[in-house]
């Protein structure tokens, strides 16, 4: 696009590559801050959405890739790259003031690659223990258990509150630490084992009576090192991992990874597989939203609603069980298509499910949406403006409830989405109630999508033939899909081997926890739990 080309001409030091709508811009590390702020703060194409930050170990240098997009032109993606030859104490400028989501992503890069960001307000490790030795995603990492033995003690909370900061003034490096909480603050731990954290999330919350003053989320309690595992797995083996990240919308994650690999192989996937995958994805989305609906109700104390959600979700699980073999972990998409053809009952059961679910949706609205206590609780709490949602990278239903049109199914239609007619659900108020009701609306829209596809599944193969050993050609592959919680992205860097060189998954839930931190301050304890439910994050997706 001409506007982007013009913009990039401002940076004479940058190397620009373009492939369709993908721009790749490499800049020296001294210019990264200047380039990024010019990209972020310009009037023609403001790159206001930081999709993800990918840390890289290129062998001799360490690098960072900022994947940017603009809310005005969401189909264009710009990869801003920089690298540093220093491996002992690599330092880069922090961009946390340009995008609200950058702070968390930079901590992740620091945790895995040891790159420290200058002026970043919080340079703790994100997932691993603060006393962990080495940086696991570096290629020269030593995984010897003698270096990092299995710890026998809990991590000291005091260590977790010491925040290191690095500042550089006139070429002089200053390092100092400060405490997160004052000595007399009333700090309550919500989690890691707590009924309302939707997994093992640990929130350190500073309270003044019932009012929340500060929130510090601590991740990593279910960190499995999926990205590191991927580097030692062959491509078909890797497929089992994304199901286990966001386990509630597992089929969509796996679909995303398959699409990324298929893009690399330039594999022609049969139409039948596309249709089946789309139906399974939408069923998965309904199941996930039903759980999300039940959870927000339960977080407000209405346990019955949760049981109703689970009851309806069970029907989808039964359909999955018949066709995919798995219930929660469907394990259905494979490279080139799907694992097996649909079960003879599949179409009949799905067609029975659609009217049933429509009836139940009415009941859910009647029982809970119209409930005066529920409305009172949700109205006027947890406002998230559109600008803030974009800056925080709060994709998915959360962003759409604030009026940010970010549905990847519309922006970059994949699988069978180009063939169906559906609306992107948008609301404008950005309140808790909008985030609640948009999930029920999306269930109705998903039913509409399935209805169009279920009778028109084309005949033919359900999977394309692939080679026994899959080698991805050298290059970078990036695939965006719309998960039930937001944008789930797969970044694969291949060097032509049968194992990927680097894999990065964008977790929509991670930015949602960051959003919770932003909107829950000054609300009450009861609201914190409800807001967490309304954002509907899944913690294993954050920890990966």
């Amino acid at each position: 696009m001409k506007a982007i080309d013009d913009l990039l001409l401002q940076f004479p030091y940058a190397t620009v590559e373009q492939k369709d709508k993908f721009y790749s811009v490499s800049v020296p590390k001294e210019n990264i801050h200047e380039t990024a702020s010019a990209l972020r703060n310009n009037d023609t194409v403001p790159f206001d959405f930081l999709i993800d930050i990918v840390g890289m170990d290129y062998g001799d240098t360490l690098g960072v890739i900022y994947i940017l997009s603009s809310s005005l032109y969401p189909t264009y993606i710009l990869r801003l790259k920089t690298e540093t030859p220093e491996r002992e104490d690599p330092l880069l400028d922090s961009l946390h003031e340009l995008w609200d989501s950058a702070g968390l992503y930079e901590r992740e890069v620091h945790d895995f690659f040891g790159i420290r960001f200058i002026n970043h307000p919080d340079m703790r490790r994100l997932f691993l223990r603060q006393d962990w030795k080495g940086y696991p995603l570096r290629k020269d990492y030593d995984a010897d258990p003698a270096i990092n033995p299995i710890p026998m003690d809990n991590e000291d909370l005091d260590d977790m509150e010491n925040i290191p900061v690095i500042e550089v003034n006139h070429g002089q490096k200053f390092e100092h630490q400060h405490k997160l909480f004052e000595a007399d603050e009333y700090v309550v731990n919500f989690g890691p084992q707590h009924p309302a954290t939707h997994g093992v999330l640990h929130l350190r919350v500073s309270l003044d009576g019932e009012i929340i003053k500060k929130i510090d989320p601590i991740f990593g309690y279910i960190h499995r090192g999926i990205e590191k595992m991927c580097e030692t797995y062959a491509y078909p083996q890797m497929l089992h991992l994304p199901d286990r990240m966001d386990y509630v919308s597992g089929p969509i994650n796996r679909h995303g990874l398959c699409l990324a690999i298929e893009k690399g192989l330039e594999l022609e996937v049969p139409e039948r597989a596309h249709y089946i995958r789309t139906i399974i994805d939408e069923l998965g989305r309904i199941a996930s939203h039903l759980l999300g609906w039940g959870c927000i109700a339960m977080d407000m104390g209405a346990i019955t609603a949760f049981v109703y959600g689970m009851r309806d979700r069970e029907k989808i699980m039964d359909i999955f069980e018949e066709t995919c073999g798995g219930r929660l972990m469907a394990n259905y998409s494979v490279i080139g298509g799907v694992m097996a053809d649909i079960h003879p009952n599949f179409q009949r059961k799905v067609k029975e499910f659609i009217p049933y679910m429509r009836k139940m949706l009415k009941e859910h609205h009647l029982l809970f949406t119209g409930n005066p206590i529920a409305r009172d609780r949700m109205d006027g709490v947890g406002y998230l403006s559109k600008e803030k949602a974009i800056a925080l990278g709060a994709t998915g239903p959360t962003g759409r409830a604030s009026g940010w049109s970010n549905d990847i199914r519309k922006i970059e239609p994949y699988a069978a989405y180009p063939h169906v007619d559906f609306k992107e659900m948008l609301r404008t108020d950005g309140m808790t109630f909008d985030r609640y009701v948009i999930r029920l609306d999306e269930i109705a829209e998903s039913l509409h999508i399935i209805e169009q596809l279920i009778d028109n599944i084309p005949e033919g193969d359900y999977a394309a033939k692939t080679k026994a050993v899959i080698r991805l050609p050298e290059g970078e592959y990036f695939q965006r899909v719309e998960n039930a919680r937001g944008e789930f992205d797969v970044y694969i860097n291949s060097r032509g081997d049968k194992y990927p060189y680097r894999v990065k998954f964008r977790s929509p839930s991670m930015t949602l926890v960051n959003t919770l931190k932003a909107i829950a301050v000054e609300t009450k304890v009861a609201d914190l739990i409800m807001l967490g439910g309304s954002l509907d994050y899944v913690v294993p997706c954050i920890d990966r």
Binding site: A196, T304, N371, I373, R377, A526
Partner: protein, 353 residues
């Protein structure tokens, strides 16, 4: 109409015939204590079973169905389990207050329980200030909850206890004021008298609209007094894990649990006694044969029927509504229920005059 009065009077006469005054009283005290404790725990078992079945019904489930026919022995098994459970010693608690708290809660509950008239003469405590006694004794429970939250040395329990303090003290006002409306109507505070006065018609019919308003306010405020959803903020399991009794285990937790269920029963029983005529059968003035048929149903059944009806209402609400937030809870009481109750007393006074 057969009244339990006959049985109790016979026991009393029998004892007095053979023993001196002091021994009679001692034996009667012991008998009453044993009976009350037994009924208390048996009722708790029934209520727990009932709650689980009703909850299952609302949630499209089956509920307990493995232990005994229809799972009726489930709560007995649970009771045995809780009796055998280890009481875990928590570091850094205040040991004296920590142990005291659960007894305070259950003593308050049992004392209130003793004042409930199950039948004519089947009532352990029948003061002439019965209603006043009920309100006073049930308030001791708040102290127990506050002590439990404070002595546990846990931040969740402290938040839970503070919420519970604010909530119980506020709602006690509406509770008391709505009962006061009926006291104005009946002119007595003695529970047995209040029941006797409803022989021609229950107070909810006799008192016209003010009595109905008082009944509804009493149900809401009383429900809040029992700390059950949508007013279960002190224990709010999705926020504070278990609120004020987070650190309790074994039978100490069992005491809180028992008291919670029995408080639900007590609130329902008082509602039944004061508004729905207690053990008094349904009498309609003028319909003599109808009244005669109604009298054939034993009064204890009348009483339990009305009480369980009120309990069912409480369970229905408990399993349907989401929880209120603390500021909404307090504004409901201070801005809505209390002014209405005050005006209601005024109305009732005008009606009586």
């Amino acid at each position: 109409m057969f009244h339990f009065e006959v049985v109790t009077n016979w026991i009393d006469a029998l004892l007095r015939e053979h023993l001196s005054e002091g021994w009679t009283l001692l034996i009667e005290f012991i008998l009453i204590g044993v009976v009350i404790l037994t009924v208390y725990s048996v009722l708790a078992l029934i209520l727990i079973y009932l709650e689980r079945k009703v909850c299952a019904f609302f949630q499209c489930r089956i509920g307990p169905n493995r232990v005994g026919p229809f799972g009726v022995l489930q709560s007995v098994a649970d009771m045995v389990k809780i009796l055998l459970k280890e009481i875990i010693k928590i570091n850094k608690v205040d040991p004296f207050l920590f142990r005291l708290a659960c007894y305070l809660v259950i003593i308050a509950s049992i004392c209130t329980f003793g004042a409930i008239p199950f039948d004519k003469g089947l009532q352990a405590v029948d003061f002439n200030i019965g209603v006043f006694y009920l309100l006073a004794v049930s308030s001791i429970g708040v102290v127990g909850i506050l002590i439990a939250g404070w002595s546990s040395n846990n931040k969740y329990t402290l938040i839970g206890a503070m919420r519970s303090g604010a909530q119980l003290i506020s709602y006690e006002l509406s509770c008391g004021l709505s009962l006061l409306a009926i006291v104005v109507l009946s002119g007595t505070m003695q529970l047995s008298q209040i029941v006797e006065q409803q022989a021609d018609a229950w107070f909810i019919f006799k008192g016209h609209i003010p009595a109905l308003i008082a009944f509804i306010i009493y149900l809401i405020a009383g429900h809040a007094e029992t700390n059950r959803g949508p007013f279960d903020l002190p224990e709010a399991e999705s926020e504070l894990t278990a609120g004020y009794h987070t650190e309790y285990s074994g039978i100490q937790f069992g005491f809180f649990y028992l008291a919670e269920y029995l408080n639900m029963f007590i609130i329902a029983a008082i509602a039944a006694t004061v508004f729905l005529g207690g053990w008094m059968p349904l009498h309609i003035p003028g319909w003599e044969s109808f009244n005669g048929i109604m009298d054939y149903i034993p009064p204890v059944l009348w009483f339990l029927g009305k009480t369980f009806f009120c309990i069912f209402l409480a369970l229905w609400v408990r399993w349907s509504f989401p929880r209120l937030r603390i500021d909404q809870l307090l504004s409901l009481e201070w801005k809505i229920l209390m002014p209405i109750s005050l005006i209601n007393i005024l109305l009732m006074t005008l009606l009586v005059l």
